[in-house]
């Protein structure tokens, strides 16, 4: 099981590392990094699905009968674009949060809101 499906085990380990980083860190930038690791692991999962034993890259060439499945690659090209867009929106928000609060620590920012509310 582990020997034949080792790629999946590695990928799922990577996913969990990413997800753990998202949940455990209060720093917004670190959260985004975790999110990226998580997403990239899923991309790798898709790409590994496209592998066919003995298959060559999916470019039509004479003398080659078996090709890898090209569809997952194409899908992941789209998903990568989505991931880039998400990261850029996230980073832009983190910058705006830093400008507004003077911190990128989620807990500190929340504490400042609470303090502001108490002051009113």
């Amino acid at each position: 099981m582990i020997a034949t499906h080792y790629t999946y085990w590695i990928i799922f380990a990577l996913m969990m590392i990413g997800l753990y980083a998202v949940m455990s860190h209060g720093n917004l930038v670190k959260k985004l990094i975790g999110l990226n690791v998580f997403q990239v692991a899923v991309f790798m999962f898709f790409i590994s699905l496209g592998r066919v034993d003995e298959g060559s890259p999916p470019i039509i060439t004479e003398g080659i009968e078996v090709y890898s499945h090209p569809l997952p690659h194409v899908l992941i090209l789209t998903a990568i674009v989505v991931g880039v867009a998400t990261t850029s929106v996230g980073v832009a928000l983190a910058i705006r949060i830093f400008e507004a609060y003077g911190t990128v620590e989620e807990d500190d920012a929340l504490a400042r809101d609470v303090a502001e509310e108490a002051a009113e």
């Binding site: 929106v89 996230g90 989620e106």
Partner: protein
């Protein structure tokens, strides 16, 4: 032309979004958004009429036939959602001009409309697509534009709310992607019809089980089902009024539609509700959501936050109907999707008018204003009664339908929970009505003369000042939604006809 309608449903707002970015004037951007909204509504109406007898309209994107190409599918199950999206878009186009002018910095306005067009594109796309991966892409389009829109709220808290939603939402979207990947791994297809053909043969396959769980958890985050609702109160209450209206009225509803589509037509009732305990799980979280959402709403000090928590309870009610997996339950869920969109749309729009006039949506600032802003608070009362489910409002019609479906299925405990949540709704709606109508205004004596009030306000800038007059373009949509919510309570034939049609298509007539 008619053949191209499913594609136009998505393409028109998409093109408008791109053109909005190029325009220099805010008015032109608004005009363009209005064009997109009206076009969406017209398209949705025509499509709804075309599929009214149970037909299915398929459209091959780019001329590539399914299952190789991406297929758009319109049937009764999603025509309702498209119609709802079109109606809310037109409402927002009318309501939004003045509201956006007041809340958004001038140089951001045209980009705001561009993002709004993208949000519409994404939501329409989720509803119309027949391809599992395409659904993920549209889900991310709608999510990304909503993160940007929420971040434009007037307080800095909006930024944090948007960021939190971004993190949770992306995890949800990626879960959906994993689920689609697992389904693709065992079937080799992404087309929903094709998946539905191939999945039953794989019953009991572990990858299919994993796929079901990942897709449902991913969508549950987008639907804000109770334990996964953490992003919703912040996002709804901090977003600009217009965005709150769109998200509260249709944002979660589209994810609920996608959930129903996956559950009933892609994986099938056997896999989801018979082999896996997804149905029971939904009933449990739905019941918890009804209680928790309504209970927490009772303790809110801010009107928009109160409405947001009430939405969590109402989403619980909708998913409970789906979790029953009976034709009656699904029909009740659809009916409540329609009615709740109308009611919450009206309430959040009313909150926007309050924000425009009072500069705040806190309950304290609303004290005693019922008599001075009778139209707005009249809409709040009608909407509130709809949330409780008092006849003759639309909320009563859908609660009644859900209660009937629960009785039919012998779910007495859940019926009791539904009633309890209605009682809790009475508490939080009652608080709003009490504050607005029966309390004396803050900082001024009861029934002051306008001149005295003006003097008081000038002497003490901290007191609430009521600016007279709400723009007609803002007031009319609120009034329209409020009237519709009463009309659909008295004559429910239109929404319940649509809901029954949707339930028939989804459950395939094979259920009692």
């Amino acid at each position: 032309m008619i053949d191209q309608l499913p594609a136009l449903q998505v393409v028109v707002p998409l093109v408008c979004a791109a053109v909005c970015v190029l325009l220099r004037s805010a008015f032109a951007a608004w005009l363009l958004f209005t064009v997109a909204a009206v076009a969406s509504l017209v398209t949705a109406v025509v499509l709804t009429v075309l599929v009214r007898d149970g037909e299915t309209i398929g459209y091959d994107m780019g001329g590539w036939p399914a299952p190789v190409g991406i297929e758009l599918v319109v049937d009764q199950a999603n025509a309702v959602v498209l119609l709802l999206l079109g109606v809310i878009a037109v409402i927002v186009a009318s309501y939004g001009r003045r509201s956006i002018e007041a809340e958004i910095r001038p140089r951001r306005v045209r980009m705001f409309y561009a993002a709004l067009c993208m949000l519409l594109t994404g939501l329409m796309g989720i509803a119309v697509t027949g391809d599992a991966f395409n659904l993920f892409v549209f889900l991310e389009i709608s999510s990304l534009s909503s993160y940007a829109l929420i971040a434009l709220g007037r307080r800095r808290r909006a930024l944090l709310a948007a960021f939190q939603y971004l993190v949770i939402g992306t995890v949800g979207g990626t879960f959906l992607l994993i689920g689609v990947g697992l389904a693709f791994a065992v079937t080799g297809t992404l087309n929903m019809t094709d998946l539905a053909d191939r999945l039953p043969a794989l019953e009991g396959n572990r990858a299919v089980t994993g796929s079901v769980v990942f897709i449902f958890v991913g969508l549950a985050i987008k639907m804000a089902v109770f334990p996964l609702h953490a992003w919703l109160p912040g996002a709804y209450s901090e977003a600009p009024s217009v965005v709150s209206v769109v998200l509260a009225a249709v944002g979660t509803k589209v994810a609920i539609y996608a959930f129903a589509r996956f559950a009933f037509t892609v994986f099938g009732i056997d896999v989801v509700f018979t082999d896996l305990p997804i149905g029971q799980a939904i009933l449990v979280v739905g019941s918890l959501a009804m209680l928790a959402g309504a209970a927490v709403a009772c303790f809110q000090q801010d009107f928009k936050r109160l409405l947001a928590w009430s939405s969590i309870g109402q989403v619980g009610m909708i998913v409970t109907g789906i979790g029953l997996a009976t034709a009656g339950g699904v029909s009740a869920a659809y009916l409540h999707i329609i009615n709740h969109a109308i009611i919450k749309g009206a309430l959040f729009a009313a909150a926007g008018i309050l924000l425009l006039n009072l500069g705040s949506t806190s309950l304290d600032s609303m004290a005693g204003l019922g008599r001075r802003m009778p139209l707005t608070f009249g809409a709040v009362v009608i909407g509130g009664l709809g949330l409780i489910g008092v006849p003759p409002t639309a909320g009563f019609a859908s609660k009644w339908a859900l209660a009937a479906a629960l009785v039919e299925d012998d779910q007495w405990l859940i019926l009791a929970i539904l009633l309890a949540s209605s009682l809790l709704a009475m508490v939080y709606v009652g608080r709003v009505i009490e504050v607005a109508w029966f309390r004396s205004p803050a900082g001024v004596d009861a029934a002051p003369s306008p001149a005295a009030e003006h003097a008081a306000a000038a002497a003490n800038p901290g007191t609430v000042r009521v600016r007279e007059g709400t723009p007609l373009l803002m007031a009319a949509p609120v009034a329209l939604l409020a009237v519709a919510s009463v009309y659909f309570g008295i004559d429910a034939s239109l929404p319940s006809g649509l809901a029954d049609g949707a339930a028939r298509v989804l459950t395939g007539g094979g259920l009692p």
